[in-house]
Structure formats: C-alpha cells, structure tokens
Amino acid sequence: MTESKVDLLAVFPDLEPAANAIEHLRSIGVHDECMNIISGIPVTEAMLGRPSQWTNVPRIAMGGAILGFGAGFFLAFITPYLYPYPIKVSTQAFIPGPPTVVVLFELTMLGMLLSTFLGVFLDSFFPNYRPMKYVPEVSDGKIAILVECSHVEEKKVTDALKKMGAESVNPAEAQHL
C-alpha cells in the first residue's frame, strides 16, 4: 500500500475562494479527477472552472421512453390479438386509430419519467446508506472540496487549501450521514 491515498475535505465559505482553490490545486498538480465538490446548492461546473460532469440521465430517459413506447405499442397493437376471439366494440376499428395515440403517448411519457427518476438513482448510486465523506456545513451554504491525494502530498495540498481561504482542512473520514 505504498500508493495509499488520503482524502482531504476543505470547507470554503463561498464560491469565489473555492474556485480559486480549485485553480490553485490544479496548478500544483492535482488532477481534476482527484477533486470533488460538495455543495448545498447546485453550483455549476463553469462557476468553479471544473470540467463538465458526465451524466447518463438523459440517455436513460430516452431508453425509458423507448421502453414505454414499446409497452404502449404492446397494449395498443398486440393485446387486441390476445383474445380467444376478436372483441369488437361498436363499429370502431379493431385497432382504433386515435386512441392508440393516447396510449402510446401516455406510456412513452410514463416510461421516460420513470426512467429519468431511476436514472438519478442509478447515476448517483442512490439509495446509499453506507458511511460517506461529508461535512454537514455544506447544507448551510458552505462549499466543500474533497481532494484525493497521496500521503506524500497531503501536507502540500492542505497548505495550499488553507492559503486559498479554506475554513478548515481535515482528512475526510467516512461516517454515517
């Protein structure tokens, strides 16, 4: 375990110092991948000068929409054939035109929204009740930077963060939230 890593958790009072700190960290050689921001409001990557986050939610949503459409298609176009004999109502066509649109629409939307919701769970690993590295102050508007670095760099990084205005820099320990 020579390459053993340590997580540092620096808490900043505001956006500006946090953004500066990130820039500074990058300049002292900490990769973007080794940083993570924890905040109480959705701060965009651009605000902090961070690379764009990858998210699968729109794709999962699209996938869900396709599945939903498929379910709608099954209901609208397949189920009428599953009866022992054709069931006719009034003189309406066996597979009615406009009503299929309604069914397709509703089930597509249902599929899409359900999978969007599910996508958040999948992408964020929710629900996750294991111990995690966290400081409750972030929900008070503070911005926390979680830096992963080697033991060797720990001191350097801590100093840099402190210099950039971190209220506190502590080794992060996973704890029950």
Binding site: E45, T55, P96, F117
Partner: protein, 483 residues
C-alpha cells in the same frame, strides 16, 4: 431566529413607488438574502415547532372526519351499493366524479407552478414550488379515492390494470376511462417523483440537523445525498427533463378527463373545446387552491412571513386574473357555439342550466369564477393582501366545483329521452366529499410537520442570482441566469 421583523409586517407592496433600494429588498425575497444556515434553521424551526393545542384539535377533528365520513361511509357504500348515493337514471354520474374532476383540477396548479414557471424561469415561484407540488400529489390521492368511490364494484378495480390474467381480458383501449386510468397513473407517479427529486437536497439538509426518529426518517428519504457535483448534475438534468415532460402529461390528463365527457353522445357534452376548457378550469381552481394554501402557511407557520411575501400573492393573483379571463373566454366560447347550434336538446339543456331548479348554481358559478376575481384581482394592493386573495381563492374553488357539478349531474339530467329526466339529489356523496377535503388538509398538515415546505436550496439559488442594478437614477431588479 431573528430576521428583521419588519419583513413580516411591511405593508402590501403596491406599485414600485420610490424604488428605493431598501424598499425593493423588503419587497422581494430574492433580494433579501439571509445566510443559508439561518434560512435552514428557520425552515427547520417552522417544521419542528411544537404543535399547539389548536393544531392537535384541528388534526383531531379532521381525523374524525376522515375516519367517519370518508372511510366508514365508504364501507357503508361498498356494502350497500351505489344506491346510498344520489345516482340514478339518468344521473348515472354524480358528485363522486365531480370531486374527481375537481381534485384533478386542483392538482394541476402544482405542476403549473413548479414545471411551467420553472421552464419559463419565473423567479417568484421559488419559495412555494414544494407547497404546490404537495397539492398535486395530495389532490391526486383524493381524485383517485373519488373515482374508486364511484365504481359500482370497486373491489374489482384491478380489472382495469393491463396485465395478463385468467379472465383473458385486457382493458378496452377504446374507452376514455382506460386512457384516464393510464393518464392519471402516469400523472400521479410522475408528479410524485417530481415532488421527490427537488426534495432530496432539503431532506438531506434536514437530516444534517435532526436527531432521533426524524434523523432516521430524513436519512432514509435523503438516500445518501451529499451534494457532490455528480449528484447535483444528475438531479438538475432529471429535474429539467421532468419540468418539460410533465407539462404535456399534465395537459393530457385533464384533456382526457374532458374527453370522458366530450366523447359521449350527450347534448352539452359533445364539445370539441372541452379539452382546453377543462385545462383552464383546472388551472383556475388549482391556482385558487394554491393561494389558499400559501395564505394558510404564511399565517400559521413560523418564519413563513419571510419566505412568502406580498409579492407572491401579487404574482399568483395576476395569474389568477389571467386564468379567470381565459376561463371566461373558453366558457363563453363553449356556450356561444352550443347556443348557436340550435339543437333542441342542447337548447333545452342551456335553458335548464340557467332557469332550471339549479339555475342559482349557474349564476353562482359565473359570479365566483369571473365576477369576483375580476372585481378584486385587478387591484395590485388587494391582490397582494393574503387574506383577501385567499378568500378569492376559496370562492374560485367553490365556483369551479359548481362548474363541474353543472357539467356532470345537472347536465346529464337533460338527455334525448325526456321521459327519463330527473333531478339529482346527492346522498352519501356529500359527507364522503367532505371527507376527501378533510383528508387533503390532514395530509397537508402532517406533511408540514415532516417535510420542509420551503425548498431552501432553490431559494438560496435564486437569491444568488438576483441583484439590484442601477440604470441612471432608477434601481431595478436584475436576474442572472445561473444554469
């Protein structure tokens, strides 16, 4: 927590006279930021505040009503049959469906506020999106109950679900009721999810500052949310998708509800304009209900006078006025075409609406839905007065309930077989309808003690985006687009 008391008492803002910076800050929550921690504490305190005896009294009364009027009477209805209600030939549909449409209508305001206003970045929405979304979910619960009350054999309601079964039957997709089922299910699920997503950061906040069973409760609800970049990104993306996608779902729900009527071969119902007419009607009652909820929250819960201000009543008041006008437009449009058509049964029906034994209701509907809102909401001062707009909200809801009552039991009285015409006399529906209202309020009261009613992070986000800017001598509010 001491935020400046004057916020609470300041007079309803009229016009932007003065435009002094201080005045503007007083007026606008977005320009009146407090530290996040302080806002968190205020919200937590409003939730954790020890309930007064009045609260318990109201909860007790409501619980009794729910247990007796809703569930006990419902069991009577199930055992003895729909004959306990006032339905008969030709009024096969009665107050249960009136309530269904009514509650679905109420539920529309939540989506309207949190989705449409979010899409269009109407900033005043921020403090009360949660309150509105709760209305959607709780309203849909009542709508679902009402629809089940209506069914003659409710214990077989699952037969309407599409799944392979021994009966070798799938639901009839020709039926507007099946579409209804699909649409309402979709809407209930998606609006509940849409309520939950923005709630996650707030329950995470609550988790961080609570102990005991509440800690467990919030911890479970927060799902392990920390607020990392990734989590926020996923959440924001999802909320965006929801905000856009739930709008057509919402429109489809009430349109399909309107098709239940419009697709029928009945005088007065076969109207192509019913879809938008119903949607506007739903927004009308929904907005009315939303403002009542806001007025009650503001009046009864601690610190809410900071979050919910005259500006919000003013803004919703404007919306109510516009929607009231739109409703009047659609109503008149529907009426005009029906009147012009000259079909004898439709003529008879229109005459019956106005001059029949329930004519008073028709006029009351117009007074409640048009005359009163127009008379009061045009005045910026009045519409910024919470109790006054709240009262208008209640009146609009009464009016909209009347509208549905006129469309359903009164209109079905008149059909093409005059030999069967008969006036509807409600029975067990009345207590059961009161029961749904009680359940709605009760759910709300319980939720207000369990869920942060103010989306603090959204408020903070908004406050970050707002600033005052000077153009020459005039100070104006300006908003930056953060996303």
């Amino acid at each position: 927590m001491a935020y400046d008391k004057k916020h609470a008492e300041h007079a309803p803002a009229g016009r932007h006279n003065g435009h002094s910076e201080e005045h503007l800050r007083e007026k606008h929550l977005m320009l009146d930021p407090l530290p996040r921690g302080q806002m968190n504490d205020m919200v937590m305190e409003s939730m954790l505040e020890k309930p007064t005896w009045k609260y318990w009294l109201v909860v007790g009364i409501l619980s009794f009503i729910v247990v007796y009027f809703l569930f006990y009477k419902w069991s009577i209805l199930i055992m003895k049959g729909q004959g306990e209600a006032g339905v008969m030939r030709p009024d096969y549909w009665g107050i249960f469906l009136v309530n269904t449409v009514f509650w679905i209508g109420i539920s529309h305001a939540g989506t309207f506020i949190s989705a449409i206003l979010r899409v269009f970045r109407a900033e005043f929405r921020r403090p009360f999106t949660r309150a509105a979304e709760l209305m959607t979910t709780f309203g849909l619960v009542q709508a679902g109950f009402s629809i089940f009350m209506h069914m003659g054999r409710v214990w077989l309601a699952y037969w309407l679900m599409p799944y392979p079964n021994q009966r070798m039957l799938w639901p009839n997709l020709h039926s507007p009721l099946t579409w209804d089922l699909l649409a309402i299910t979709t809407y209930l699920l998606s609006s509940t999810m849409y309520l939950f997503l923005p709630l996650i950061p707030d329950v995470a906040m609550a988790r961080d500052r609570s102990t005991g069973w509440r800690k467990t409760f919030y911890k479970t609800l927060a799902l392990g949310f920390r607020g990392t970049e990734g989590e926020w990104t996923h959440l924001r993306n999802a909320m965006n998708i929801f905000a856009f996608a739930i709008i057509p779902v919402m429109f489809s729900v009430h349109t399909i509800v309107s098709w239940d009527f419009a697709a029928a071969t009945r005088p007065g119902w076969s109207s192509t304009i019913f879809g938008p007419y119903f949607i506007v009607g739903a927004l009308h009652s929904g907005m009315g209900a939303a403002i009542v909820v806001l007025a009650v929250i503001r009046g009864t819960m601690k610190h809410m006078k900071y979050f919910i201000r005259a500006e919000h009543f003013d803004a919703i008041g404007k919306l109510m006025l516009i929607i009231s006008m739109a409703w009047a437009y659609f109503f008149f449009n529907d009426y005009m075409v029906q009147w012009y058509g000259g079909d004898k049964w439709t003529q008879q029906l229109l005459h019956f609406h106005e001059a029949g034994p329930m004519g008073w209701m028709w006029f009351a509907m117009l007074i409640c839905n048009v005359a009163i809102p127009w008379a009061i909401l045009w005045n910026p001062k009045w519409r910024a007065t919470p109790w006054l707009v709240g009262t208008v909200g209640i009146i609009i809801n009464v009016g909209m309930w009347f509208e549905r009552y006129i469309i359903i039991p009164i209109s079905v009285t008149i059909n093409r077989m005059p030999f069967t015409w008969r006036l509807y006399e409600p029975g067990i529906e009345v207590p059961m309808g009161i029961g749904t209202v009680a359940l709605f309020i009760l759910l709300y009261m319980i939720a207000s003690k369990l869920i942060p009613l103010i989306p603090v992070w959204e408020v903070q986000e908004g406050q970050m985006a707002h600033e005052l800017k000077k153009f020459g001598r005039e100070t104006v509010v300006s908003v930056s687009e953060l996303e």
